[in-house]
């Protein structure tokens, strides 16, 4: 982790050249959720390969572009497409963009992902505001010698997701009249979808939804002292006693259809942030 600091600085310097404004928030857009980037008043944008030390996105429906600009009067960057453990990246590589966001001044991470719903009261197309997570990826982005300039050796995880923003998210959903749950996401490596036995297990350990991302980014955001707002979009229901084969095209279509809800939540949370007295 000791050479990580220099990697972060190099990547941040490249972005600052075109977009010097200190950020308020960094946004990560998950599978099929890239549409939000259209709302940003874009000041600069980079393909990932243009940014030093950024890996290239290989996942389906992920564009691999970093958009810098203004959203709800706040300077933000948004990642259209993220990196996943199942693509073969190390968790340190996956989470580098979060550290770069922090280096650029972001105090808030907004993270979204497409997930499978395991809580039977959820429906495909619903959104869930993440209240907490379970890391079942078998790895951790903080493994290695700790660089105290980046964060503490043993970060606390008693409240990784900002409680005020969770409440705000639920309020926005009520006002806009769509269902938003508050629940627990479990992260697994993938890339295969889970077996029925695995869904039963993950449900039994306390998770409402299951995904293949987000947790590494959140662990790193907490490590570097950022507040976090996380949204899961339920793109298919994973009920082990009535399981149907997953259809990736359908998942992406449902994510696209649910995207306006994510858009409302993200812009609403940012508007709330912008209105907060400094």
């Amino acid at each position: 982790m000791l050479n990580l600091y220099d990697k972060i600085e190099t990547a941040a310097a490249k972005i600052r050249e075109s977009f010097p404004t200190p950020l308020h928030a960094g946004i990560i857009l998950g599978t099929g959720l890239g549409g939000l980037a259209e709302r940003i008043d874009v000041k600069a944008s980079f393909n990932y390969e243009e940014i030093p030390n950024f890996p290239e996105s290989t996942a389906l429906s992920h564009r691999g572009r970093l958009v810098c600009g203004i959203l709800e009067d706040l300077p933000v960057v948004a990642m259209e497409g993220r990196f996943h453990q199942y693509e073969g990246y190390s968790l340190q590589q996956i989470t580098l963009p979060v550290r770069v966001m922090k280096a650029l001044g972001a105090e808030l991470l907004i993270v979204s992902q497409a997930v499978g719903g395991m809580n039977p009261y959820y429906n495909s197309g619903d959104v869930m505001i993440i209240d907490d997570h379970i890391n079942m990826m078998g790895d951790n982005p903080l493994v290695g010698v700790n660089d105290d300039r980046l964060g503490p050796r043993f970060p606390d995880m008693c409240a990784p997701y900002d409680a005020k923003l969770i409440e705000k998210g639920l309020e926005i959903a009520r006002q806009q009249n769509f269902a938003a749950h508050k629940g627990v996401v479990v992260a697994v490596t993938g890339p295969n979808l889970e077996t029925r036995a695995e869904y039963r297990f993950l449900r039994a350990i306390g998770a409402d939804v299951v995904g293949m991302s987000t947790v590494p980014e959140v662990i790193v955001a907490v490590h570097c002292g950022m507040r976090v707002f996380g949204v899961s979009v339920i793109t298919d229901m994973c009920l082990p006693d009535a399981l149907e084969p997953a259809d990736v095209e359908k998942i992406i279509a449902i994510a696209g259809a649910a995207e306006p809800k994510l858009r409302a939540l993200v812009t609403g949370v940012l508007a709330y942030e912008a209105a907060k007295p400094r």
């Binding site: 982790m1 907490d132 997570h133 379970i134 890391n135 078998g138 790895d139 951790n140 903080l142 493994v143 290695g144 010698v145 700790n146 503490p152 050796r153 043993f154 970060p155 606390d156 995880m157 008693c158 409240a159 990784p160 627990v184 350990i205 306390g206 998770a207 662990i219 907490v222 490590h223």
Partner: protein, 283 residues
């Protein structure tokens, strides 16, 4: 792992050159528990940095040296400071010192740790004799080609922690009038502390305490045919429904206060082990 055996021999020879006795007991001390071997008559100290093939300890509250000497009448070797997976070491590196202890002749491993209490009746500063463990580290020090001279391909884990030693620990705690629980240790990779959802999961699935060490060392010790005693010092109580932030410094402070209980147990166990060895030699 075949490659590792010559390295074990090399370190063992390095230690033997400075310290002749064959240690009967290996001790691994946890976060802030260094004082637990204060009654040890230290004859030789080895800084990890001076030992070939030894990684260096980077964790808070860990000193990073191997103490060789006598404790309760027996030659022992004690690690002040251990290696953790979260530091980036491989499980083979983490357990390398256990192999060296075994190579020097130790047939008993006493392994200590500072852990988070999950069980609702545990209090900070309590001691728990480890009855069993759950490996949630997603790693195993025995992965690779097995060297049959070090241990079997498929070691049994039906009873990794010696039940007779656990009984002795409970007896010692009663005699010295302090609380000692008996329970299950869950080994996590770390380095972050657990989320509330993770604490609930671990508690519900049979964990009494949770920590970031011990399991790899015990796997290697059982593989190598050692008897194992595990002691957890409850550094803080994780109460997921009323959770407060945990800091590394806090863990070290509670450990300081509980170190004398661990010292009492270690001393008592080694005394009884020495008596057993004498009895066996007498017959």
């Amino acid at each position: 792992m075949v490659f590792q055996r010559s390295q074990i021999e090399e370190v063992a020879n390095h230690i033997r050159a400075a310290w002749k006795p064959n240690p009967r007991v290996g001790i691994v001390l946890g976060s802030g528990l260094g004082a637990s071997v204060e009654s040890m008559d230290v004859e030789v100290e080895f800084e990890y940095g001076d030992l070939p093939h030894f990684p260096r300890s980077t964790a808070v509250g860990h000193r990073g040296r191997l103490l060789a000497g006598e404790l309760a009448g027996l030659p022992v070797i004690a690690m002040q400071g251990r290696f953790h997976l979260y530091e980036g070491y491989t499980p083979q590196q983490v357990t390398f010192p256990i192999r060296v202890m075994r190579g020097l002749g130790a047939d008993l491993l006493i392994v200590c740790n500072a852990a988070g209490g999950l069980h609702s009746t545990y209090a900070a500063g309590d001691i728990m004799a480890i009855d069993d463990h759950i490996n949630m580290m997603f790693q195993n020090p025995l992965i690779g080609i097995n060297d049959d001279r070090l241990g079997p391909r498929f070691p049994d884990m039906s009873s990794p922690y010696d039940p007779a030693l656990i009984q002795q620990v409970m007896q010692i705690a009663r005699e010295h009038d302090f609380t000692c629980h008996r329970g299950v240790y869950i080994g996590m990779l770390g380095p972050n502390y657990e989320t509330r959802a993770e604490y609930r999961f671990l508690r519900r699935f049979g964990g009494h305490v949770v920590g970031m060490s011990t399991v790899p060392e015990v796997l290697a010790a059982v593989h190598a045919g050692m008897r194992v005693l595990g002691l957890s010092m409850i550094a803080n109580v994780a109460t997921p429904d009323n959770l407060a932030a945990t800091s590394g410094a806090e863990v070290v402070a509670v450990a300081d206060r509980a170190a004398n209980k661990v010292a009492t147990i270690i001393h008592g166990i080694i005394s009884q082990f020495g008596a057993e060895l004498q009895e066996r030699a007498g017959h």
